[in-house]
Symmetry: C2
Subunit: 222 residues, 2 copies
């Protein structure tokens, strides 16, 4: 019956039996994430330039899709299937990420059902689909735009559920104002802004094609 | 300090201060829902026949979109904005619907955050969008298929969150096996089956148009 290690998360009455404190410094955790991401994105940028007739926008989109695929599949995938990450004693990087991020949203350490459901859908379905989107752009597949919209809307739906449930449950899961704005708000914002932009762009492309297709088939009534 | 009215929901330790029992018989509640739905769907079926060159599949889809629009906006819209429906003393139909449905999933009466988030997105965004989808089919808009996919994927995402959170939280919210299968599973199944079919159909239509459009613009590499 050892005294439970106290944790740095909010609310203070959150029970985390067997919690082991984060070991790596914040700068190391974030540095590795950005470092690996920049390395992979650079590879994709260089590699994508070899495809014929590919635009810079498409190359940027390939970079986004590989970045978001890795985040979904590896980071969020680890969280989805590791309910006891906060007990990790080995300073394993992915456990450290979620121990650190839980300062911005303790529902991760607390294993809130809405969080696990959204992260499960994101990591299992949207992660692999994002890799497919990168491939579809490179090889000019006819499903490229509709796939990009499907994943982007899924990311937006997930973000909506994420923020709405936080507010409904009292918006009390950040350890401080700093973590609230940097982790809870800041780290999630790209997954609202970028999917919105991609959805608008691909929506217009599809509408233009449908318009031309309908005209070509002379099925349009006027 | 009146003794709280006991409720018929599971789990028994759910606290519902001020609960007023359902008054209308189950057959009346379901009968009104089906009666109104069949009436509206019949109107749309007849009315849609007057559009030129419209296929029977498109007319059926218009019926589906109006049915799901009304369910989302009225039934689910009422739930979203009526946190105290279980205290209603007037036998108001929409309150009766959710008092009855809570026998299959008490998270509705209990105001579970994931449920409210999904129902909020469904009623506020997907309800009006479904009406727009009906209009888009009738008037052959170029965004018809992409809009149908967007709403259908939203319905599927909502259903995933709905079922996954129930299981993660112990799958203990139905008052009996009957209510579990008829309400929790049965009443939600159409919103898995039909959106899946619509997504597949519209996905194929969009891909065919993109294929033709790419060929026509001679941008395809092979």
């Amino acid at each position: 019956m050892a005294e439970s290690q106290s944790h740095p998360y909010a609310p203070a009455d959150l029970k985390l039996e067997g919690y082991v404190p984060v070991v790596l410094p914040q700068s190391t955790i974030i540095g590795i994430y950005f470092g690996v991401s920049i390395f992979v994105v650079s590879l994709i940028w260089i590699f994508s330039g070899r495809f014929p007739k590919i635009t810079k926008v498409d190359r940027l989109l390939m970079c986004w899709w590989v970045f978001t695929a890795l985040t979904h599949s590896i980071l969020e995938g680890y969280f989805t299937f590791s309910p006891e990450f906060y007990k990790d004693k080995t300073a394993f990087y992915l456990a450290e990420v979620w121990k650190e991020y839980s300062k911005g949203d303790s529902r991760y350490a607390g294993r809130d059902a809405a969080i696990v459901a959204v992260e499960g859908i994101t990591s299992v379905l949207e992660g692999p689909a994002s890799l497919l989107a990168m491939y579809a752009i490179a090889t000019r597949k006819s499903y490229s735009h509709i796939l990009q919209i499907a994943i982007s809307l899924g990311q937006l739906y997930g973000a909506f559920v994420y923020f709405i449930t936080a507010f409904l449950d009292g918006d009390k899961f950040a350890a401080s104002t700093f973590y609230y704005y940097s982790y809870f708000v800041g780290a999630n914002s790209p997954w609202i802004v970028i999917p919105t932009l991609i959805t608008i762009r691909s929506w217009k492309k599809i509408c233009a094609a449908m318009e031309a297709f309908q005209g070509q088939n002379k099925t349009k009534t006027r």
